[in-house]
């Protein structure tokens, strides 16, 4: 009887373990099955490079190039803002801050991670958006720049905490060696600690990008959602994620539009998969 119980529990846990893989596979196959159907009518090249996204015109024009560029430009903007600030913050926490300030900062960053993205979205909408409109004298503040700034806030906690871990993991002897050679504190950080932690910091940046690319709610609220090819940061854009979220409810099940949204899902899946794998490679480079 006891043996049977052991056997039963073991199998049960095994099944629970399998469940997560099973779900990933199911989602993946469903996504493929639905998404790939769109390529019966549109060639993959035309789908990705097409410049017009008019999914409900007759016949529908399903080119997601403006959406890819939209995601791309918002992400680049967010990275340009969040990486220097995030890495500097990590250096400050790991190397410079006195213990008390360190605790306060870490708690603050965890809190930042805990703010729901929709909340960040509407705060951005009522504060940042009018501000961007005013400063740049634009017809609307709902622009890629607003999205980038808001997303930078969301990427920061990821970047800071992983970069800080990477800095902590550096052997103390590197810092001692640098200081003993007469390096100043800053020189030892800049010339020894940062290069030593570079792979971990790159991983932090990649995971930050992953976070930004997959973000939906806030960008949908503050980027203006115009599916046009952006030439600057100061125009409304529409991202891949916002497109799916905004249109899935209205798309007729089984229509070209519906399949196209799933295909966008595949594109997103591929992008974040690639980012995660790259980050993983950086993280495990030394081991």
């Amino acid at each position: 009887m006891r043996k049977f119980k052991e056997f039963f529990l073991e199998k049960l846990i095994f099944i629970c373990g399998l469940a997560s893989i099973l779900f990933v596979l199911l989602i993946f196959f469903f996504l493929l099955k639905e998404g790939l159907s769109v390529f019966k009518t549109v060639s993959p090249l035309k789908f990705i490079m097409g410049r017009n996204w008019y999914p409900i015109s007759e016949p529908p024009q399903l080119g997601i190039f403006p959406l890819i560029l939209g995601s791309f430009i918002v992400t680049i903007g967010a990275v340009v803002i969040s990486v220097p600030v995030g890495v500097a913050c990590a250096v400050y926490i790991a190397e410079i801050a006195p213990p008390k300030i360190k605790e306060i900062l870490k708690a603050g960053i965890e809190l930042l991670a805990a703010i729901p993205s929709v909340v960040l979205g509407f705060i951005g909408m009522v504060t940042l958006v009018p501000w961007v409109k005013h400063i740049f004298g634009l017809p609307t503040g709902l622009t890629a720049l607003s999205g980038s700034i808001m997303l930078a806030f969301m990427a920061m906690p990821t970047i800071v905490s992983i970069a800080e871990d990477a800095l902590y993991a550096i052997p103390k002897s590197y810092k001692e060696g640098a200081l003993a050679l007469g390096a100043t504190h800053w020189q030892s950080i800049w010339r020894v600690l940062l290069p030593a932690a570079s792979s971990g910091i790159l991983a932090a940046v990649m995971l930050g990008i992953g976070r930004v690319i997959g973000e939906t709610m806030a960008v949908m609220m503050i980027t203006g959602n115009a599916a046009v090819i952006p030439h600057t940061l100061l125009v409304p854009v529409r991202t891949l994620t916002a497109t799916i979220a905004a249109e899935m409810g209205e798309a007729v099940v089984g229509s070209q539009h519906y399949f196209a949204l799933f295909a966008i899902g595949i594109v997103l899946f591929a992008i974040s998969f690639a980012i995660n794998v790259t980050a993983d490679l950086f993280l495990h480079k030394d081991k």
Binding site: P171, S173, Y174, E176, L179, A180, L181, G182, T184, P195
Partner: protein, 251 residues
């Protein structure tokens, strides 16, 4: 000539009295060994000379330490200049995770500002030649320093100090992670270097101290029990505690 003179040097870690009234004179261009059991304060003493103890919180020092007649414990001392002059070799070789080349020119880059390529090349070559690594490494200068053997790493760390033109070398058990052959080669290097450098080596290996050093200090529980010429210390110690230690009665 005395290069380093300590006068009534005392040091506390919080309430722990780690160095007690140290009075010693370290001679120029000689190797001075500091021996003693673990926890006797020998590494602490070494770290006074380049003020590395400053990194630890709650350290308090009193007394005087004169290097070239300047009191390095004074508040207004230029730590960068001090550490440039007083180089340190650590127990575990700690080359930076950079290329061999960058490890050696590190000092030049932080102290010298912009230096020409040819000047840097020259520094690398002369420094590596001084530690007898040039032949082995000249073809892989731009490879990572982390892939070297432990002995090569330790030599590289010494080359790094030669490159910043230190004239005092503090060695904190520099051979404890090396095998006996590598140890004897590093000792040979030390003898060779003493023509231009004042070397202070902390070691718990008495044979090593007897082999390489000209002078020896024996420390116990934070006190400098005996200090003098190595042949006297090892053959005719004046203090009973020194005799007990070097004959292996404790330690």
């Amino acid at each position: 000539m005395s290069k380093i003179i300590t006068e009534n040097l005392n040091l506390w870690y919080g309430n722990f009295h780690a160095l007690k009234d140290i009075n010693a004179r370290f001679q120029e261009r000689r190797i001075t060994a500091i021996i003693g059991p673990s926890g006797c304060g020998k590494s602490t003493l070494l770290r006074v000379f380049n003020r590395m103890n400053d990194l630890i919180e709650g350290v308090r020092t009193t007394g005087k330490v004169l290097i070239d007649a300047t009191d390095i414990l004074a508040n207004n001392i230029d730590l960068v200049a001090l550490r440039r002059k007083v180089g340190m070799v650590f127990q575990r070789p700690n080359p930076f995770p950079l290329s061999i080349y960058e490890n050696i020119v590190f000092g030049e880059r932080i102290h010298g500002g912009k230096s020409s390529r040819s000047k840097l090349d020259e520094i690398v070559e002369t420094s590596l030649k001084r530690v007898f690594l040039w032949e082995e490494l000249k073809d892989k200068l731009h490879k990572s320093a982390l892939n070297l053997s432990l002995e090569q790493k330790q030599r590289l760390c010494i080359a790094r100090l030669i490159a910043v033109k230190s004239n005092i070398l503090l060695m904190d058990e520099p051979c404890s992670s090396l095998d006996p052959q590598a140890t004897s080669r590093v000792e040979e290097l030390m003898r060779e270097l003493k023509n231009n450098y004042t070397i202070i080596i902390v070691t718990h290996n008495m044979q090593q101290a007897a082999r390489v050093s000209d002078d020896t200090g024996f420390m116990l529980l934070g006190e400098l029990v005996e200090f003098g010429r190595s042949e006297d210390i090892f053959t005719a110690p004046k203090d009973k505690r020194t005799e007990d230690y070097i004959t292996g009665r404790y330690g």
